[in-house]
Amino acid sequence: MSAGGDEGTDGRHRLRTVLRPLFGTPVNAALTVVILWLLVTAIPALLRWGIADAIWFTDDPKDCIQQEGACWAFVGAKARLIIFGRYPYDEHWRPLLAMIIVLAALVLSADWRQWRRRNWGRFLIGLWAVTIAASSMLMAGGIAGLESVEIDRWSGLPLTVMLSVFGIFLALILSVLLALGRQSKLPVIRWLSIAYIELIRGVPLISILFMAALLLPIILPSGFEISKILRAQAAFVMFFAAYMAEVLRGGLQAIPRGQYEAAETIGLTYWEATFKVILPQVFRLSIPSLVNVFIAAFKDTSLVVIISMHDLMGTTNAAISDPAWSGIYIEAYAFTAMVYFIFCGGISWYSQKLERHLKVGRR
């Protein structure tokens, strides 16, 4: 671009650089026209449905059913059902608080400025143990004067958040061991790791969930019962650990041999070298692919519906089955999609920030 050009030629030049890719060839021009036409017809219709003709507030479902536009009042009426599901209505503050605790722990662990602190890793492991215990107790009740709530009634967004956040956290720990195991010089450990990873990757998540829900109670000795939510959690951890292990393996293989040799020669033991030298570099290399798995894990929690647990997607389906509001469902799905998007978008936004931060010190 000409730096000293006057405004007129500069503006024209900019216009040309915008227009050339859009209309430069007949094919491009045709595509541009078609896409513009689609946008021109679709966007006003969408706006009319979603805003102009929409009903925002009403207590009477009938108002909505006769209307052409969106019925956002439905979302307002059902929001608590969609978010908290079958959890006792008067106790909704408990899952809300549990969720806030989990998300606060997440934000605290995500703050990279703290990572250089001494013993921060140990602190985080403790933090998560406390978080898991505290949020589960808050949800389950039965202590400290809290009314006991059956695990079957845990549902909606808190279930989605807990299953996915705890699942991702535990799976990540397991996946590090699996990835290291797969590289191990000890044949037994290596074979076991490979067998585990390949077996789990070769099976759909649904079948692992089914096995966890149905097969586990049969093979475990009677009297040794694990709640359904724990079984589902275990299934998620097992499944996603295998995928994360493969992602980490890719990162491990990208670390030059010289790094191991340098760590060895300055007297680091295998575990010191692994945790201080190798893994920090592996994680840095693996962030984009790991985040991919995290997002998939977050959304795949919706599969617990098949073992009759109601995560966010399940409660959405429950909400739209209310006969009083029959025929209204797009609005509920739009709302749920937005909630998913906020979470997944947040993960993605954070990972990009983190990647940029870690660029300092990249070879």
């Binding site: 001494r118 030059p256 010289g258 790094q259 040799e261 340098a262 760590a263 060895e264 020669t265 300055i266 007297g267 680091l268 033991t269 010191e272 201080k276 030298v277 920090p280 570099q281 840095r284 870690l358 300092v360 010190g361 990249r362 070879r363």
Partner: protein, 257 residues
């Protein structure tokens, strides 16, 4: 250096000893029946054509490579993976690599501190030591920088400081300047020169012949896994017209060194 000259504790004694050492990669013999004795405080230059086993020779000293026959001892202790003596050996042996191998996610200072801290030196002491050696390699101003913010020569100087922070008795250099741009070779050789003056035992694989001539007590010429010459530099340079040395010196001269 602050530490005492290792040769000053009495008369020079055999510190590193190769006795009939052989090493194979599969069926390929990299080292063939090596006999070699290095005294405490000696400065040894190892040179020879590529593939002659020079790097393997020094990598055997700190157990980065295993060997099949014979025995290597460092300070009287056999270097042996089977006997589990390698960690003990590495307390005495520092190493500098051709490609620096700094840890890219740590600053220069952290690179120097990680080893001592792992050997339960206090953080404060490790920091002081790191700063001392970084100043010795004239990298104080860059202590807070990451390796990718440093030039090759600067990285190699940090790598030397990192090795020295463990206060080794021997320093191994595996072609420390051959991955550097020519204009950076000098700064690294200067640091190594100063190090040589402290009386630390050094074994250095290099093709920098004028550096070798200046610091070496003995020069070892290797070819095909064998030591062909083991002489003081005056002798090596006076015999540069003979035998296998001819070809090598011609080659080095071609590179304008």
């Amino acid at each position: 250096m602050t530490r005492a000259d290792p040769s000053s504790d009495g008369k020079a004694k055999a510190f590193i000893r190769f006795q009939g050492v052989s090493k194979r990669f599969g069926s390929f013999k990299v080292l063939k029946d090596i006999h070699l004795t290095i005294q405490s405080g000696e400065r040894i230059i190892v040179f020879g054509p590529s593939g002659s086993g020079k790097s393997t020779l020094i990598r055997c000293v700190n157990g980065l490579e295993d060997y099949q026959d014979g025995v290597i001892t460092v300070g009287g202790v056999p270097v042996s993976r089977a006997l589990g003596t390698v960690p003990q050996i590495r307390r005495k042996v520092g190493m500098v690599f051709q490609h620096f191998n700094l840890f890219p996610h740590m600053t220069a200072l952290e690179n120097c501190m990680v080893g001592p801290v792992a050997r339960s030196v206090t953080e404060k002491e490790a920091r002081n030591r790191a700063l001392e050696f970084l100043s010795r390699v004239r990298m104080t101003d860059h202590a807070a920088k990451y390796p990718n913010e440093l030039s090759g020569g600067q990285q190699q100087r940090v790598a030397i400081a990192r090795a020295l922070c463990l206060q080794p008795q021997v320093m191994l250099f595996d072609e420390p300047t051959s991955a550097l741009d020519p204009e950076m070779v000098g700064e690294v050789l200067n640091v190594m020169n100063e190090l040589a003056d402290t009386g630390i035992t050094m074994i250095c694989v290099t093709h920098e012949m004028s550096f070798a001539r200046r610091i070496a007590d003995r020069m070892i010429f290797m070819e095909g896994g064998k030591i062909l010459y083991d002489e003081p530099p005056e002798v090596i340079f006076s015999r540069r017209g003979e035998g296998r040395l001819v070809e090598f010196f011609e080659h080095v001269a071609d590179r304008g060194l």
